[in-house]
């Protein structure tokens, strides 16, 4: 087994248009992009609000969110597992071992990243524009949409940080998804399985495909960011 074998495997898999692979890639993208989307829906406004709001204990909240950026995926997975298990509080929803459970676990995992990094970006912007915005009669809270819009190019990096974490993690989706073939098997859980089977060439081949996907997504974000920046002047 060598790196060359892995490249050949990866290329063969892509060229042959393997149906199982397409399904796995599709599920990975669906789970990860949904989780990133939900995290942004919550995390961007929450992060901006945290940057502007002043309340007792704010420092503590910031420290907690910063620390949660280091939340181990396996712990996030375990918490969601126990919550969604039939013996857990949300058991009747029958969500364990479904793609939905995986989306929830990844959302839990990456929302703190979005919140913390957004807070940092918006705090800097607010420092820069506070006088100007206040002179226009804007309160801190009403400045949230303006600042999010102004900071959109920096916030793309924030979103990509969340995306990277979600694409790469295996601990959370493995626990709550169960790595069921054709149902909850993603790129990362498939890589873990093939490693366990000792088929290292196939595992690394899948790894190369996953990295290429991440590269494509990032390139897309970069190019569209450039275009938008130019249009915005």
């Amino acid at each position: 087994m060598d790196g060359q074998g892995a490249f050949v495997t990866a290329i063969n898999l892509i060229v042959s248009g393997d149906a199982a692979l397409a399904e796995i890639v599709g599920l990975s993208l669906r789970v990860t992009l949904s989780a990133v989307f939900l995290s942004c829906l919550v995390g961007l406004p929450a992060g901006a609000a945290l940057a502007l709001a002043r309340f007792p204990g704010r420092g503590g909240v910031i420290v907690v969110f910063n620390s949660l950026m280091g939340l181990p995926p396996v712990v996030a997975g375990l918490v969601v597992y126990l919550t969604l298990s039939r013996s857990g509080p949300l058991g009747p929803l029958a969500l364990l071992f479904t793609p939905t459970a995986m989306i929830i676990a990844q959302t839990v995992l990456i929302t703190p990243i979005i919140v913390s990094l957004t807070r940092s970006v918006i705090e800097d912007l607010w420092r820069e524009y506070e006088d100007q915005l206040r002179s226009l009669g804007s309160s801190a809270l009403r400045a949230v949409p303006t600042l999010l819009w102004d900071g959109r190019f920096s916030l793309v990096t924030v979103v990509l940080a969340g995306l990277g974490r979600a694409m790469a993690e295996v601990g959370a989706v493995l626990i709550v998804g169960g790595n069921i073939a054709g149902h909850t098997r993603t790129m990362t859980t498939a890589i873990a399985l093939e490693t366990a089977r000792g088929d290292l060439a196939l595992a690394l081949g899948l790894g190369i495909i996953l990295l290429s996907l991440t590269l494509l997504l990032n390139a897309g974000a970069f190019v569209s960011g450039r275009v938008a920046q130019r249009t915005a002047g």
Binding site: M1, R30, S34, F37, L38, L41, S85, R86, S87, G88, G91, L93, A94, L95, L96, F97, T98, P99, T100, I103, G178, N179, I180, A181, H183, L193, T195, A196, R197, G198, D199, L200
Partner: protein, 277 residues
Amino acid sequence: MAFLKHIIGAGTALSLMAAAALQPAVAQDEFITVASTTSTEQSGLFDHILPIFEEKTGIEVRVIAQGTGQALETGRRGDADVLFVHAKAAEEEFVAEGHGVEREPVMYNDFVFVGPGDDPAGIKGGSDAVAALQAIAEAEAPFASRGDDSGTHKAELNLWEAAGIEPSGDWYRELGQGMGPTLNTAAQMPAYTMSDRATWISFQNRGPLEIVVEGDDRLFNQYGVILVNPERHEHVKAEAGQQFIDWLVSGEGQQAIGSYEIDGQQLFFPNAQDEGA
């Protein structure tokens, strides 16, 4: 106003996407969830037999591969309909505690000891598992233990007990991993380890490892199947689950199991008829 309309439009689209993302995947067909072991999954047995069952009944079988200890816990919590595992004593306890309806024997394979070809403990070619462990401990040759409360781990601990040894020391390495990762690690150490034969035959990254001890009756590895008790967990799909169990122990299911081969070697031996198994 146009700006506002834009925002509302975008917001609606986003919420729709969120709703779509969160919607549980509604399966048209009936399915059951089976908690099983890494050995059955990683050896490829399920890929071989499940399509036959699904074709016949239209019931989709979703397999979660865990160590036997974790699989039993999954059943205890009601997160699976059927358990397909290999640790008879723990399975019988599971049923006795009322978590399962009944345990039925399905098939067996056996464990083998694998180790580096240069054989530092001098046990190659033997067929006495207990004597081999004694020799390994004596030589303090590296031994990789699953250490994960799986069926294989339990079987290994029983053999150490039979050998009158409480393994400890730098040479005894508890990995806390599944069978495949344990073999990957043992190949690199290199170390002796105990594997079920099915995983070993289908395992591809053997390095210097080869079979050193096999053929001891004490290396027998029996698999059983249990329906999770619907009286404990009312959502358990008892009917479909029982249908799967009935098929596994039927002539057709037993034949499907027996016909699974890798490189001409049969991996599992059906023995549902053997009531004491």
